[in-house]
Symmetry: C2
Subunit: 338 residues, 2 copies
């Protein structure tokens, strides 16, 4: 709309050549303090802003990163997105957001399309196979969140540890039979949470009863509830908070008291969980930190591509923290009367 002001306009006003203006902006040390000041004044006066497309054309960098998430409507990913875009902006980097709508098939296409327009991509909780991920990483710089894959840097949560905390809590309350409502089978988190639960229950002499894979949503939890009840477990760990809250809703309508008859544990600690009835015991995953780290990691990689080869040091593991709320309580006393 307004008049586009170019580097030549600035150069003319400052009485220098365009290349000097360019240097004054990108490599200030390489330019005389006096001229630098003159250029700065001209930039100020004209409100000059370098054209990123033109710069990108020559530097090969767009100043943009891509973000691919399974579902923005899931508060966990909304928080992550918020953190990522905030951190990126600090570095004057813009963020393209793409939502796969939990469709694994859409992932590859989106990554492919994005990769042409960005310097690198943050891929959150991808459902793609390791081979596909490797192909993505060959195409562009990729940082994974919530997923580990050989040779690709990323930030993950220590799911095993989180599940151990959950099981320890439940066992301390007297529970010995614990149901597990998994998320999508292709989800790395599902696999590792399942594994962590298996190990922890074994160590602590409890019995784990997996009830299958469900959509990582409120509806998924509703769908799982009746099977959970049928297991006869006195406690259940859900794939995430959304599923746990769905569980809560269905249990309520089935007349099952929580935690009176069944204790429920989620994972994520989305804001909603504190508001649920009863409030949800959960494993709080640091979402902001994950987003921040992912951005820093990606930008570092872009500035120093070699480091990607440096086998290690490019994966961060964050720890979850058990948040005990009203949805877990002592194991119900078995009825002694026949």
């Amino acid at each position: 709309m307004s008049v586009p002001v170019t580097i030549r306009d600035v150069a003319r006003l400052a009485g220098v050549s365009p290349s000097t203006v360019s240097r004054a902006i990108s490599l200030p040390e390489m330019v005389n303090a006096t001229t630098r000041a003159r250029v700065a004044a001209a930039v100020e006066q004209l409100g000059y802003e370098p054209n990123r497309a033109a710069r990108g054309l020559i530097t090969g960098r767009t100043g943009t990163i891509g973000l691919v998430v399974p579902d923005l409507a899931n508060p966990f990913f909304a928080s992550l997105t918020k953190a990522i875009q905030a951190r990126a902006r600090r570095h004057d980097v813009a963020v393209f957001v793409a939502d796969t709508d939990e469709d694994p098939g859409a992932e590859a296409g989106l990554v492919r399309a994005l990769s042409k327009q960005v310097d690198g991509i943050v891929l959150c909780s991808p459902r793609a196979s390791d081979d596909d991920l490797a192909a993505f990483a060959a195409d562009t710089t990729v940082v994974l969140v919530n997923r580990a894959a050989a040779g690709i840097p990323g930030v993950t949560y220590d799911n095993e540890d989180g599940m151990r905390q959950a099981v320890a809590h439940l066992v301390a309350l007297g529970h010995r039979r614990i149901a597990w409502v998994g998320g999508p089978a292709s989800s790395w988190s599902t696999q590792h949470r399942g594994l962590g639960l298996r190990n922890a229950t074994e160590e602590l002499h409890a019995v784990l009863v997996p009830v299958g894979n469900f959509a990582p949503t409120y509806e998924g939890g509703m769908a799982a509830a009746d099977q959970v009840i049928a297991t006869g477990a006195t406690a259940v760990v859900a794939y995430n908070d959304l599923v746990a809250i769905g569980l809560l809703a269905r249990l309520h309508s089935r007349g099952i008291s929580v935690p009176g008859e069944l204790s429920v544990v989620g994972v994520d600690d989305i804001a909603m969980s504190g508001m649920a009835h009863p409030a949800l015991t959960t494993i709080r995953l640091p979402k902001q930190e994950a987003g921040w780290i992912a951005v820093e990691l990606l930008l570092a990689l872009l500035d120093n591509p070699d480091s990607q080869q440096g086998a290690s040091g490019t994966r961060s593991e964050l720890h979850g923290e058990l948040i005990v709320r009203a949805s877990t309580g002592p194991v119900p006393v078995p009825d002694r009367q026949p």
Copy 2:
């Protein structure tokens, strides 16, 4: 990472000039079917993808739009964002997302920064003044969501009508004294919902008791609850569902029964509302449609800049729909015993 393939590579392989390749892609009708096929084959074989920065440099279009929202963690905006990016992708347009974190001061800076990098901006629920908005619109093509401003196209909800539905519902249940918990004072929605409530209560012979302005969040609702109780109202309309759910939580801990002693109505119908206890009666605002319309409007404006001048026709108004759930019920019978 992979070898960048340019239009010249394609041209060489197809045995034509770069401009023919360019035309075959952008203006297919202008090129012979045979050569077009040859070019297509070469593009396919090489996996050519036009460099958007280069194209943008000359066309002046980036193929990108900006989206500015107050808070991605608010499910209402998450839904909107989801809809907008999905619709934009259909048009092969990428979306930059920026979150102001409910900081009105950040708005101008973000819009300013974005406007250099995008073809146009979708501004959701801006808190800026009309003058600031006009300044933004002078700088770049802007479409407003959830806000009306003279001369700037946009999509809004008919807040007056929504509030009328809410009041009619409450009055039918016997309520005559209705509290109103407003959102940020600078919010257009707050103003128009307040206005709608004032009109509707007047028409229907009820009394409206505004209790002030609060943050549009769960915490805002918690903060407002005690003042709502103090009004002696038998029903309350909250700025949005998040506030209503915060209200619900505080009322619960104060031992006030909903809807036994107080009926609660929200606005938005975020997913969480159906899951609340009691489930929240609310005005459902069509979020997807708003996002879709905003994108279509913006892209239409970009394709035909003149239409922006065409005073009218560039504002859409959507209607909300009352969703009755458990949080509203008959007015409590006044205690007859002294």
